[in-house]
Amino acid sequence: METLRKFEKVCEIVDQNDRSAARLIPILQAVQSEYRYLPEEILTYIATSLGISPASVFGVATFYSLFTMKPKGKYIIRICDGTACHVKGSMNLYEALRNKLTLKEGADSTPDMLFTLETVNCLGACGLAPAMVINDEVFGQLTPERVDSIIDDILDKEEKNEFDTHGA
């Protein structure tokens, strides 16, 4: 049942894009914003419905850095490592966050899939370096201490939500 519903949504996205292979990138973008990643079976499904080889779909999905085939956390934290942010110590923030989230070596996501930590080339908020973006919200002029408190705020919010859902 779950799988069926999964494909229904993909069908809708593919249809909205006229089942055109030229629209592959917008299709993948829409699918990713729906599932937060590109599940392998869905990529094969898209290939069939567009009439192109799975290889070309996988080729595109792995070429662009915003596409991911690994599931990502609920909160995707992207530390800007553009020139301005780099010069102003963005890597210290990155390390501070890795410690804060106690990420194991080689892992980008927390085991509970709440957070994923990445870097991004430039957010264009160079005047406010160093910057980061959590999902769609940009934060600027950061220090390791501020990053710490931003994460704490999210954790608090999550805890409260959990309580509400269970309480209700």
Binding site: L28, Q29, F67, N121, C122, A129
Partner: protein
């Protein structure tokens, strides 16, 4: 719906009529920078406080005449992001800086009601210590020449009518109704407009090439895939004046005879994507896009394509592949896109800033445009100034301005790593991002234009300027850019794919103390090979940061290689660790901590670090309770 010149005039008059009733206007900056600093909360607070104080707060001008009130509007980026959120109050023309929601009530009472200045949130000139009332008194703005950005930060980017009220879409209408395609190409060619995306190719010539190519279908594409780290000029334009880009595209389409176009925007710029989408939607509704635009016989459809995070897609042929739904890999030129581009049809690709210039060039006329800039590079250029300077932000200068003017007059001079003024701190400027080169003290008085920069081994690129103080290690800077291009190499050409990888590891050798003098020779040879053996601009220019730092800062490379010493002390692996005999108690804690046994010594006796074995991991410093272990240059 047909819309002619008269129709445009009607929109303009209606808008101005509605606006004149409202004597007062508050403009809250809604560029990415100010939004990050909370300008949207400031905006909401203004609407609330104005209503609370019994005044009428107007957030959107309606067609019919408004009753008197305060017009609260948003604008695009005003450039000086550092002192944001920025709030401008008209008609007095007061600029308040770093406005917090808590300040709003005070502004309403002091300025709106009593008509007085609120001194505490005015910008203070750091030299004269005098408060500045508005942009014309602030050195950052006073020294600039705003042409493309003139309306950015003034008009509401989400309101088509205001763009029209500032003379917008008149050039596009004229191009469609009163000029032939060849005339449009010639006008742009005669004005001497050159592509602002990096190469500086004459725009009029590019258009003429596409015009002359016969085809049943042609395309125009706006290149908004501004991927250079540290550059955000195009973002500023797309967020602050999206209609100027749409109008530029309409004119380009008319000039070459295209009936379909794309705006390719980086997905990392969500606000720019949103505003461009809105601008296109509104232009369709008003009859500037779609069928029979401006009542002429031409059709023009415009789509938005969001990038998916690949720097190489800024390259024309790779962008085309990406729009066609494939991996964004470049293909050989010729055929140039003007001959065979999107879906094999003639295609013109112009940069955001270039397109935004076009309507202004047609409106201003040749003489006025040519009066700005130099003979070979007329007009202005926007730059994103970042790094170790007092004022970072988005600026616009005529071509031919010098680095000295930009760094010391507009950007307010050098700062140290922690942002304090550092008078003699200038070391270098990296211009043009990962494809550019560095400029040194000797180039401070060089007039900046496309050709002068090429001569000194740099390029204007898209216009990112990263200013660096003398505590910056140039080898590390070169490594930063090399890591960037290495990660972004699409992998098609062997020399770019493998060469950048090897160059990166050679730079790592230098930074981490494994290099010999031969390393520098290999690095240089490889750099030239990568330049020659790559297909597209990414690979061809990838070695530039290395070559130009080698050219101007060879002594720094040599210090790393010959003496295993980083003159700025920034390269950790070249830092030497030693134990202060007077402080060491001989506790052996560091001896047990050192993973490779580089620390020797008996219990109770001062320890020693074997420099040959030490890997400079710094673990001993952390573990020592007596601060006896030192790290530094000597």
């Amino acid at each position: 719906m047909n819309l002619t010149l008269m129709g445009l005039n009607k929109i303009k008059e209606d808008y101005l009529a509605a606006q004149t009733v409202l004597a007062r206007r508050i403009i809250v900056c809604a560029g990415t920078g100010c939004i990050v600093n909370g300008s949207m909360k400031v905006y909401e607070e203004f609407v609330r406080c104005i209503k609370d104080s019994g005044l009428n707060a107007v957030v959107e001008l309606k067609k019919e005449k408004e009753e008197d009130g305060v017009f609260v509007s948003k604008s695009g980026c005003q450039g000086f992001c550092q002192i944001g959120p920025l709030v401008t109050i008209l008609p007095e023309n007061i600029l308040y800086t770093k406005v917090r929601p808590d300040d709003v009530q005070d502004i309403v009472e002091t300025t709106l009601i009593r008509g007085e200045l609120l001194n505490r949130i005015l910008y203070v000139d750091p030299d004269t210590k005098k408060p500045c009332k508005n942009q014309s008194e602030i050195p950052f703005y006073r020294k600039q020449q705003r042409f493309v950005l003139a309306n950015c930060g003034v008009i509401d980017p989400e309101d088509l009518r205001e763009y029209v009220a500032h003379g917008g879409y008149v050039s596009a209408a004229k191009a469609c109704l009163e000029m032939t395609p060849l005339e449009v190409c010639k006008r742009i060619g005669d004005a001497g407009v050159r592509g602002r995306g990096g190469g500086g190719f004459p725009t009029g010539k590019k258009w003429e090439m596409a015009l002359q190519k016969e085809s049943d279908k042609k395309y125009v594409i706006c290149n908004g895939d501004e991927g250079d780290p540290g550059a955000f000029m195009d973002m500023g334009v797309m967020e602050g004046n999206p209609h100027s880009v749409v109008e530029g595209l309409i004119i380009a389409a008319r000039a070459i005879g295209a009936d379909e176009g794309y705006v390719y925007v980086r997905a990392e710029y969500p606000l720019a994507v949103k505003r461009i989408r809105k601008a296109i939607q509104d232009a369709y509704k008003a009859g500037m896009l779609g069928r029979q635009i401006f009542g002429s016989s031409y059709n023009f459809d415009l789509h938005v394509m969001e990038g998916a995070g690949a720097f190489v897609c800024g390259e024309e042929t790779a962008m085309i592949a990406s729009i066609e739904g494939r991996r964004g890999m470049p293909s050989p030129k010729p055929p140039f896109p003007t001959q065979r581009g999107l879906w094999g049809k003639p295609t013109v690709i112009n940069n955001v800033e270039t397109l935004s210039n076009i309507p202004l060039v047609l409106a201003a006329g040749l003489d006025q445009y040519r009066s700005l800039g130099t003979h070979e590079s007329p007009g202005t250029k926007t730059f994103a100034v970042t790094g170790h300077v007092a004022n970072t932000g988005l600026i616009e200068m005529p071509f031919g301005s010098t680095l000295r003017e930009i760094v010391f007059h507009v950007a307010g001079g050098m700062t140290s790593d922690d942002g304090k003024p550092m008078n003699d701190g200038f070391k270098a400027v990296q211009i043009g991002g990962p494809s550019g080169g560095c400029l040194t003290r000797d180039h401070l008085d060089l007039p900046l234009d496309f050709d002068s920069l090429k001569q000194v081994g740099a390029m204007i690129g898209s216009g990112g300027l990263v200013v660096m103080n003398k505590n910056t290690c140039m080898v590390s800077v070169a490594r930063f850019f090399m890591r960037f291009t290495q990660e972004e190499s699409c992998g098609k050409c062997v020399l770019c794919r493998e060469g950048t990888k090897q160059m990166l590891s050679l730079l790592d050798d230098i930074i981490e103390g494994r290099a010999t003098e031969e390393t520098l020779t290999i690095l240089e040879d490889l750099a030239i090979a990568v330049q020659k053996g790559s297909l597209c601009g990414l690979g061809k220019t990838a070695p530039n940061p290395v070559l130009s730092t080698l050219r101007y800062f060879r002594d720094e490379y040599e210090a790393h290689v010959k003496h295993k010493y980083c003159p700025t002390g920034k390269c950790k692996k070249l830092t030497k660790f030693w134990i202060d005999e007077n402080l060491c108690r001989g506790c052996t804690l560091c001896v047990t901590k050192c993973a490779i046994g580089a620390i020797i010594g008996e219990k109770g006796q001062p320890h020693k670090i074997d420099q040959m074995l030490c890997r400079k991991c710094g673990a001993c410093i952390e573990v020592c309770k007596f601060q006896a272990i030192k790290g530094g240059k000597s």
